[in-house]
Every structure is written in C-alpha cells, then in structure tokens.
Symmetry: C2
Subunit: 145 residues, 2 copies
DNA sequence: TATCTAAATAGAAATGTTTTTTATTTAAAA
DNA sequence: TTTTAAATAAAAAACATTTCTATTTAGATA
C-alpha cells in the first residue's frame, strides 16, 4: 500500500532519518497507543543505540506536525498513536487493551457557538476523549460495570 | 452564604482538619484553577508547617469525593478547581488567566449513543475541555489569533 | 472532661517521566 | 565530495508526584 514515510517526512521538512522512519512504522503498525518507553523498546530491536530523548523529541515533532496524535490518558503519561483518519474527529480509548477507535460525532460547532456567543471568548482548541471498554474486551471477560 | 466546609467534610466522612478546611476555602475563593504547589504556598501563610504530600493527598481525596475537580491542562500537570455547579457540565479554560467557565452544552448523549451502537463498546467516562482566551483577556491586549 | 483509636500529618526520601546539555554524527543540499 | 544544519547518544538534571515512617490529632466513646 506504500506508507511512504520518507516522502511524508520530506513534506514536513523533517530529515528522513532511519530512526524517525522506524518510529512512524512502529506506530502505523500498532492498533493501540504506545508510551515513549514502549516505542524505545521496539526500536532497540532495530538499532543497538537509541536514546530516550531522541524518542521523545521525535514523537513531539511528529505530533506537532499532525502525523501522529497524543493520547491523554487518565494516568497523565504521554502516549502516541498513528491515526489514519485525516478528518477532524475524536477517539474512543479502551482502558483495558488500549485500542483506539474513531468517534465521528463532534458537538464542537455547538460548543464553539456557546463559547463565542455566551462567554464572548475565543476558542483556540478543544480536547475530547472517551474512555471505556471496547467490544472485544467486553466479550472476553466479565467486567463489573 | 455559609460555605459550611466543616459539614461538607462530615458528610463526606472525612475528618474536618484545619488544613483540609483551609484547602477548600482557598479553592472556593479562587476563580482560577491552582496547582498543588500554589495551594501549598497559600497554606504557608496560615500554617507554618505544611507538607506537599498532605496537599496532594487532600486534593486527591476531595476530587475523588467530587467536591473539587481536576483540570487537565495541556502541560499534563495537575490542577484543581472548586466548581459551584453541581450539574454535569464541562469547562472553558482561559489559557492566559486560567479562569474557568462553565459550558452547558454537552453532546455526550450522542457520543454515548455512537459508542454503544456503532462500536458496541461500553463508555465509562469522558473528558471534554475547551481552551481559549476569555472575554477579559481578549479585551486587555492584542492576541494574535 | 479524659481516654482512646483510626485518620491525618510532617519530613525525608524515593520514584519515574520528561527535559536539558554537550560533544559527536549524519542527511542531504551545494 | 564537501559542507552544514539537523539529528543523535549519553549522561545528567529537573521536577512533579508518591511512598514511607514516626508522630500528632480529630472526634468518638466512656
């Protein structure tokens, strides 16, 4: 299918270093979100030397340029996820298996309207995240809801 | 008006210690969200000895019991806010002065519906936060939007 | 009011994630 | 091939948050 990470990086005006490409490959292959340290562990299979600051820096740059996204987890640690959906949308996150699924509904127009009309404020950004148990985790075991 | 924190704490089955009451008073008087360390600084004016773990523990307990709320800031640090509105709602946060205002619209019914019908998942919780510049900060200065 | 006990506390130390620093290496443009 | 700005490794630092332990205290009970 050609995830042409080399050219994506060129478009973003980032050097196409082997490690940067590897980080994108690892995330794109993963249906769940990963922590920086987990990403580093996987990189260790491919590179014998890999520093944690390099992982953090690359993830930050890639997230800033929008090609990957940050997941805000209730534990307040950083997680990253490669999302193939380029439209504006939000995520359902399974707190058990970490699967990420898209939510298409976004009531942001109404919220933006309320913020600007009622509060007379200017909305810069918003964050919506939904936590729960996904279909598969519900099936696999008894979860006391 | 009588913010009867003593009785609120009794209802929550928490000991009404002077420090716990002071934490609630500080937050209730504050229109912005505060960090644990900022709260400790203010407590130092009232108590000569006050440990940071005490502040963290109390904030955690009070947030768990729902009398104060955690604010998720983009910097991923913890902040707390005393919200007088007991209904389910969300917040607009001014990223400049940290003022917190209520947003009454919440599209959660639609989202819950989508999660449960389309994804066949179970929604446990959700987080919505809107960031921007409040009315006053917009007035006070030129912000490049 | 005095006694008692579980809860709360201070203070020090530990934890663990994320960032900074600096010297070295590398991608890719010229 | 040369050049140079960007990227890197490694060590160290920064910093928020938590754990630990001995001590104190709120408030129930006698």
């Amino acid at each position: 299918m050609g995830n042409d990470f080399y050219n994506i990086l060129k478009t973003l005006k980032l050097k196409a270093t082997p490690k940067r490409i590897a980080i994108m490959e690892i995330l794109a292959d993963e249906p769940t979100y990963l922590s920086p340290d987990e990403i580093r562990s996987r990189l260790k299979g491919r590179f014998k030397n890999i520093g944690l600051p390099t992982v953090y820096r690359n993830l930050e740059e890639l997230a800033d340029s929008g090609i990957i996204i940050k997941i805000i987890h209730p534990d307040r640690k950083l997680y990253y996820f490669y999302c193939h959906n380029r439209e504006h949308h939000h995520h359902f996150v399974c707190v058990q298996c970490r699967k990420v699924e898209d939510i298409n509904f976004c009531g942001m127009e109404e919220i933006k309207n309320e913020v600007e009309k009622n509060l007379k404020a200017h909305m810069v950004s918003h964050m919506l995240q939904v936590y729960g148990f996904c279909k598969d985790c519900l099936k696999k075991q008894t979860i006391s809801l």
